[in-house]
Amino acid sequence: MQLLVNALIAGSLAALIAGGLSLVFGILGVYNLALGQTVLVGGFAAWWLRQVAGLPLALAIPGGIVAGALLSWLTFDVFIRPFYRRHIRLPLVTTIALGMILDGLIILLFGERPRAILRETKRVFDAGAFQISLEQMMLIGFTLLILALFGWTLHHTAFGRRLRAVAQHDHAALSVGVDAPRLHRLIVVLSGTLAACGGIFIGIDQNLSPTLAFPLTIKAYAAVIAGGLGNVWGAIACAFLIALLEQLTVGIRWFGRFYVPAGYQATIPLLFIIFILLIKPSGLFQSGRRLG
């Protein structure tokens, strides 16, 4: 039971990041490989505001979110927009460059030591079969709320209709007057904002470390690819599935004899992509740049 709860917690975090990433791919068709760093910038900014500047958590959290949003704005206008119309794969290279710059800056500004946004002892609820902290419950609740809000927005608002129109036929959307370039920026900023929320949760629940960026990016892309490129709900489902596999792999005593070392946990998403691509190259769910 505890493994399932752990998977739900880890899956919620991954779903936040992968959902936003998949939305960007679904709408723009571009890869943003600096997303893991955006997660960390959101988390470290909140840590700095709380632990260094001494601001209350209620201000540090919005501060971290704003940092993530601003960074993704910069990512779009400097590292994606000037390139993606020339060739759809150019942002792959430019965002790797941005990621490397940010890796250096994060170490320079925040140091290499792990950082926790909360130093206070966490309140843990013991339900017998499992334990969960208040912060972890908030992460799951927040993710479910965001997913419900996203689903409702997509299908019941003018903004959602525009998003789906751009994802399905961007030229036709432009021809009916939908301002697609503005939507593109908005989607990248939204994705960065969700990524920053993920970073803040990491900083609250565990510790932030500059080395987390790459595994986070890989895990998010594993969910996006396995879920069917551009399929947001598929990416979210796979984020939870990968989290469950990770927990089961290192949490189970295999054949009653041995545990898989925790260090191998990071390889699960990669093995998962390879396995899915071998059996179903288009991803577990329907692939394509469409938001039905």
Partner: protein, 245 residues
Amino acid sequence: MSAILTLSRVSLSLNGQHILRDVSFDVAEGEVIGVIGPNGSGKTTLFNVLSGFLKPTSGTVRFRDQDITNLAPARRAQCGIGRVFQNFGIFREMTLEENVLVALEALPREQRRALGNLNDLVRGTLNMVGLLDRAREKAGSLSGGQMRLLEIARTLRSGKSLFLLDEPTAGVSPKMTSQVADLIRELKAEGKTVLIVEHDLPFISRICDRVIVLDVGEIVLRGTPKEVKGERKLQEIYFGADPTD
């Protein structure tokens, strides 16, 4: 009649290749003009320039006395230029009513308010093309002809005054082709201006006031369908020069 659209010496080069060369013509309000020419003559490129997807290397495009040469596609749509795509500009995973609604919602606020109740307008638009009973179905379930009708009706009801129809009969059954022709005549009756790229010459002859013939990016002929039809040059473009001449 005053010109609603004016192209002055529009040229476009891509990767060192001349796709359009010195294309100039006026379109009067309410006219239906056919743009014909063999594959690769620059017809769709011309439509891409008019709808803002490509910027000309030189020359100007004016719409209602406004220079729109550098205007983005969405802004052109908001100015009243609507495009119907050869490969169906339909949002297939959205319902029929959402397909119409998204076009109405994209209009500038003032224009949108002037339209009144959008839901009534959506129903009226679908009724116009006999698709009201399928309003909640996904547009991808329609036949090619129905998609075309939906796309033209959507463009019409979202307040566009200049229509760019790129091969409106492509992928459409003969029965639906006559319905598409009727709808274009309806556009004309409502005073709309229409430019049609088409390979179906009898279709062009039936519904167009004038015809422009493009070849290798240049206008080589222009006139009424009857005038152009008799031109030897047209035969040469489509079938090549007769070696016995």
